[in-house]
Symmetry: C2
Subunit: 144 residues, 2 copies
Amino acid sequence: MPTADTILRAFDDAGYRVTEPRRRLADLIGRQSGHFTADDLIAESRRRHLGVGRATVFRSLDVLAELGVVERLDLPSGDHALVACEAAHHHHVVCSRCGRSTDIADSGLAAIIADVGRRSGYQIDSHRLELFGLCPSCQARPAG
Amino acid sequence: MPTADTILRAFDDAGYRVTEPRRRLADLIGRQSGHFTADDLIAESRRRHLGVGRATVFRSLDVLAELGVVERLDLPSGDHALVACEAAHHHHVVCSRCGRSTDIADSGLAAIIADVGRRSGYQIDSHRLELFGLCPSCQARPAG
DNA sequence: GTTTTTGCAAACCATTTGCAGGGTC
DNA sequence: GACCCTGCAAATGGTTTGCAAAAAC
C-alpha cells in the first residue's frame, strides 16, 4: 500500500509535475484504508477544504492507474472502486465488508493460464483475478 | 453460447413472462458473435425497427445477468460488455480482437484459491477470473 | 518563458426510474 | 381480471471536456 510519498514519487519519476493539488490528493489516497472511489476523494477534499477539484481527481487517478500505483477494481456488486497498490502485476483479495485489500502472488496461476491457453487455442496475453471474502479482522468481528 | 430459445426458456423457467419484446431481444442476443453492450442491442433494435426500447433492454439484461444466461465482462480497456453463456459458475477467455469468448473450466483454480485463503487469512467466498488474448481464428488472420 | 496543470461549469453518456397504457397468464 | 411488462421521456450519477488563469520547471 503506497504512502503519499510513494505516489508523489511515481508522478515525478514518470515526468509529471509535482503540484500542490497532487500532493494533497496523494495524501488523501495514502489515508484510505480499503478501496475507495473518485467520489470519496472528491467529497473528502471538499469536507476538508483542500480545494482539489473533481476534474483534477479524475485526471490524476487516470495517471496513477496507468502508472500502476492505483488499480481499478470491479466489485461483485457491479460497483467500481480503486485500491492503492504497489506497481507490479499482481492480484487482490478484497474484503467484502470493509474493502481492505491484500496483494497476492500468482501461486500457480501461471500454470493454469498456460493450461487454458493450450486447451482453448487462445494466445493469452493478459488476465485478471479478483478474490472476495472476509478479511481476518472482519471475521473476528461478526455481523456489522 | 445460448440460442434465442435457451434465453426464452430461462425467462420462462424463472417465472418471468415470455413477451414479444423479450422474444425479439433474445433473438438479438442470439445473433451476437462476441461480446456486446446494451447499446449495441438498442441500436440494432432501432435499426431493424424492432421497437424494443432502452428501458426494456436494460431491464431484461439485468434479469438475464441474474439468471446467469448473460455475464458482465470488464475489459482490460476499462469498458464493460456482456457475453451470452451457459448458466453455471465458470470463467471466460475473451478474444481481444473480435470479442468472441469461450468458457473455461476451473482446472486447478480451486486449489489456488484455497491456498490464497490459507495464506492471507481471508475467508474467500467469491472470485472472478478473466483471461484475454487472441482466439485461434484471429491468430490465423494477423493484423486487422 | 514555455508547457503542464488546475478549477469551474457545462457537456456527456450509460443507466435508472415514474408512470400510464397494454400484454400475458 | 390481476399482475407483469413496456415504451417514453425525464432524471440521475459518474466521468469528461473546453477554457482561461495559475503554477511548475
